[in-house]
């Protein structure tokens, strides 16, 4: 599903990172490990097409990302990739339901899976709630729900648990892995959270 070969990235400051070659199969779960500043977020953004300047090759679902235009990348992301970020970054001007519906709307898809997705994440009946009234654990689960709305092939998660306490961390990662398994979704989690190391077997070290 994901194929990375001889990928380097040069920061605007001139520092260059060489990433290891690796491949992730469809439906496989894997961790990107490493201390902060080692390029986890950069790699994740490169995989998701949020960042373009690179040498080497990134193929997602067989598509060479560098061949896509800016608008083409936007469309590709909407179609195939779901993001989960460290802070949940929900849009606080909108309700939970509106946040979820934003995903299909922005990627020009039909979408009415709100109730299903929320149920799968153990969040029944919070559709009309405001974002500001949610707890951190709930908010992170809503962010996961949003990433799942378009049934993406790949979910890229950037430190999804580091802002959560142990109980919420367990619950969130279990749910994330369960829904990913059900949907045959490839899951890549960038983290330095050691609590996750025991949960996911496939681990890629970026040191």
């Amino acid at each position: 599903m994901i194929d990375v070969t001889s990928l380097t990235y040069t920061y605007p400051t001139g520092k260059t990172i060489q990433f290891p070659n690796f491949a992730v199969e469809r439906g496989e779960h894997c961790l990107l490990l490493g201390e902060s500043g080692c390029g986890k977020t950069t790699l994740l953004h490169l995989l998701g097409g949020l960042l373009r300047t690179n040498t080497g090759s990134i193929k997602v679902g067989g598509q060479e990302l560098r061949e896509l235009s800016e608008a083409g990348l936007d469309g590709f992301r909407g179609e195939h990739i779901g993001f989960i970020f460290q802070k949940n970054h929900l849009i606080s001007a909108l309700t939970v339901e509106q946040n979820l519906l934003l995903a299909p709307y922005l990627s020009k898809k039909e979408g009415s899976r709100v109730a299903d997705v929320l149920n799968a994440l153990n969040l029944p009946g919070i559709q009309k709630k405001k974002i500001t009234t949610l707890s951190q654990g709930q908010a992170q689960r809503v962010a996961i729900a949003r990433a799942l709305m378009n049934k993406p092939d790949v979910i890229l998660a950037d430190e999804p648990t580091s802002a959560l306490d142990d109980r919420n961390c367990d619950a969130v990662i279990e749910l994330l892995m369960n829904v990913a398994k059900e949907n045959q979704t490839t899951l890549v989690i960038a983290t330095h959270d050691s609590r996750l190391k025991s949960k996911v077997k496939r681990q890629i070290d970026l040191r």
């Binding site: 977020t41 909407g78 001007a93 922005l106 378009n150």
Partner: protein
Amino acid sequence: MNLFVLVWGYLKAKPLNTVLNILLLSLGIGVITTLIVFNNQFQEKMSDNSRGIDLVVGAKGSPLQLVLCSVFHIDFPTGNIRLREAEMLSKNRMVKKAIPMALGDSYQNFRIVGTDTSYTALFDAKLKEGNWWKEDLEVVAGSAAAEALKLSIGDSFASAHGLTEDGHDHEENKYKVTGILQPTYAVADNLLFTNVSSVWKVHDIHEQPDSAKEITSLLIKFRNPIAALQLPRMINSNTNMQAASPAFETARLFSILGIGVDVLLGIASTIIIVSALSIFIALYNSLKERRYDMAIMRSMGAGRTRLFTTVIMEGTALTLIGSIIGILLGHLLILGFTTLVEEGARTGISAMVFYTSEIILIVGSLALGIICSMIPAVQAYRTDIHKVLSGN
């Protein structure tokens, strides 16, 4: 989920900002709307009321006062002219029609006009009920006057001397209502008509010789265009009377009022500019806070143009709502003026008339919204997703 839900969500998230911006813009637009409606209708009414009158001849004094008094029935008479002189002028070959006016009395603030039916004919006035005045002391009431004074056929009343309420009453000679007019939507609606000799009778000068009789003014229609050049000069230099042109005097009046209108327009424009600035600042600031929102939307597959239009829509939604509320506000103000203030009601101005320039106001506001949101929208367009999301 659609663009409107998204834009509305953002507007609702900052209720105070949104309300302030809409309020500012609607105030500015409201003032301009009021000016448009008032000015247009005032000018229409002015030209309606002076239709068919080429020249007003009266006692020497302010020509504007003479026109305001004899044509629009607003100001006080400049004095009287001798009936004999007036009659001589009426027989001049350049005069097609001359209508005598005897003013000076009123009944509960409604003016009594001593004249003949050729004056009501200027307004195409038709009787709703009763008959035209024939004998002395018979009165035909304009529709608004009849309604306000609750006059009906057969009623009688004593007129008051002067044009204000505190004049002494002419108790000995009472007027009798013989007819009521249909609405003319002009000044005639607010007048009480009688013949000239009734006014003399009330003032006990009926028995005096003709040489002592006086009237207030003479409304003249020219027979040909040359009269417009010769007649006023002839009257002003050869007689004790003065001639005033309603067209010229109203134009002069508008140029005086125009200064006030210009000042109000200036204030309104300033308010609108301030509101535009306020909308720009609000969008600019909220966009700084929304950098993450923008980046997240991009990560969910939104193109740059989508973010651009979202911000533009937010600005135009504000100005569109503001301008529509402003236009309603303007009309509401006129409605209040014409229903709550007696003088307003007498102007015959209607709040329910809309002008094409109000559409221009809405279109202009939309353009303003686009201009205000242009810079923030370009910022949204240029959002560097990676930079924002990685927190650098």
